[in-house]
Structures are given as structure tokens and as C-alpha cells.
């Protein structure tokens, strides 16, 4: 089979579709998936410092406790949440009867995701939050 050449580029084609929630979920799933795979490489590389001994590893962990890395970790959690929750939706569509309620599932999972994101924000920044509001409580 010879693929026929078209003048339309892939991105232009995808952008031209009228998207419902499923289309947006598909795009978010791909972007977050690529980002998480890239992060997994960084994660494995960063943790390989374990083999270099206690001092090197604890120094690295101290770096990851700085506010900028905490913020990056929080953003990472948004990608993890988007990919995990939409992954549940995909499994329901493919293996269950999700095709009948996938839009509703998207709405509920988005609500769960937003709540989980905020709760995680509290856990990650609990020290800073307690410090900020120490005078008020």
C-alpha cells in the first residue's frame, strides 16, 4: 500500500477537528504522556545518585526540597493526575461500558483531579503554609 501524500499537516488536521471532551482528553493524554516519559528518564537518572553514597544523595534531596523544585513537583503531579485519571476513563471505555458515560466520567474525574491537586498542594507546601499562617491560627 502506498500512502497518498496530502498537503495537510498532521497538526493542522488535528486542530481542524471540532473537539468534544473526548478530543481534548486525547490531546491532554498524549502531551502528559510524553512529559511523564521524559520525566521518568530524569527521575531514574537523579536517583542513580544513590550509588554515589549518602552525602551525594542527601545533598541532592535537599536541593529537591527548595521551593522551585517543590513547585515543579506540584506541576508534575498535575500531569500525573491528568494521565492517571484519564487512563482510568480510557480503560472504562475500552474494557467496560464507558462509551455510554465517558463525558460524565470526564467531568467527575476532572473534579476529582482538581481536588486531589489542591490537596497535594497542601501536602507539598504544608511547611510554607504553616509558616505563613502561623500568626493567624
Amino acid at each position: 500500500m502506498k500512502l497518498k501524500k496530502t498537503n495537510e499537516g498532521y497538526f493542522k488536521l488535528v486542530a481542524s477537528y471540532r473537539k468534544e471532551v473526548g478530543g481534548w482528553a486525547w490531546i491532554i493524554h498524549r502531551i502528559s504522556g510524553i512529559a511523564l516519559t521524559a520525566y521518568l528518564y530524569v527521575h531514574i537518572y537523579a536517583l542513580s545518585t544513590l550509588t554515589k553514597g549518602k552525602e551525594a544523595f542527601d545533598a541532592e534531596m535537599a536541593l529537591f526540597q527548595t521551593p522551585i523544585f517543590k513547585l515543579l513537583e506540584w506541576i508534575l503531579f498535575a500531569f500525573v493526575l491528568a494521565h492517571t485519571l484519564n487512563g482510568i476513563r480510557i480503560v472504562l471505555v475500552d474494557f467496560g461500558k464507558g462509551a455510554y458515560y465517558h463525558k460524565k466520567a470526564f467531568a467527575y474525574l476532572t473534579a476529582i483531579g482538581v481536588i486531589a491537586f489542591l490537596v497535594m498542594g497542601y501536602f507539598i507546601f504544608s511547611k510554607e503554609i504553616n509558616y505563613l499562617f502561623a500568626g493567624l491560627i
Binding site: 504522556g33 531514574i44 542513580s48 550509588t51 534531596m61 492517571t84
Partner: protein, 117 residues
């Protein structure tokens, strides 16, 4: 793997199924991973605690499975995205090669780290 006609000769159905199976595993593993690492931010991040976990045979098995399935799920996902493009033959071979070589390299790096303790 036939690159020229991979769309027609290989349906990718096994990859599709394994992507879902590994994905379901990763949902549970990730929830556990996040509870362990973030519920009490001070617990679990130090060298001593990490080495203690990796010295335990069950934790070690868990992390080896986590690394393997996580990498496979991620790289199979990247390849399935790339398959949507009309890649020229040499582009497909090159990108597939980059995925395989970098995947094996980082798998070895992760596994040797976990097996050292």
C-alpha cells in the same frame, strides 16, 4: 518489525492490550508511590530510608517491576504517538532505534541502582 507497512502488517493489538494492563498496574503503583512520598514529606526521602527500602526483597521486586513497566508503558506510548505520523522509512527506523537504545540504557541504569543494595 516492518517499518514500511507497519500500519497494515502489524495491528499493534498486543501493544494496545499491554498498554492497558501496564497502565492499570501503574495506577495502583503510582497511588502507593505518592502516598509514601508525599503524605509525610519528611519520610522516605533520605539516603538511609531509600537504602533500607531497596535492601528489602519485596520493595526491590516492586521497584524493579515499577521501573520496567513504567518505562515500557511510556516508550510504547511514545511509539504509538509516532505511529500516527506519516514517517519516512529512515525517520521511523531512527526514532524506533532511539526509543529502544535509550530505553534499555535507562532501564539498566535504574535496575543497577536498585540491585546495588
Amino acid at each position: 518489525m516492518s517499518f514500511r507497512y507497519y500500519g497494515s502488517r502489524k495491528s499493534g493489538s498486543i501493544g494496545w492490550l499491554l498498554q492497558r494492563i501496564t497502565g492499570i498496574f501503574l495506577i495502583f503503583a503510582m497511588v502507593g508511590h505518592y502516598i509514601l512520598m508525599h503524605y509525610t514529606p519528611e519520610a522516605g526521602h533520605s539516603y538511609d530510608q531509600s537504602v533500607a527500602r531497596l535492601s528489602n526483597v519485596y520493595w526491590k521486586m516492586f521497584y524493579l517491576t515499577f521501573i520496567t513497566l513504567g518505562l515500557w508503558h511510556g516508550l510504547n506510548g511514545v511509539w504509538s504517538i509516532l505511529r500516527d505520523f506519516k514517517m519516512k522509512h529512515w525517520v521511523a527506523v531512527t526514532l524506533y532505534g532511539v526509543i529502544i537504545v535509550s530505553g534499555i540504557a535507562f532501564w539498566v541504569l535504574g535496575v543497577t541502582t536498585a540491585l546495588k543494595f
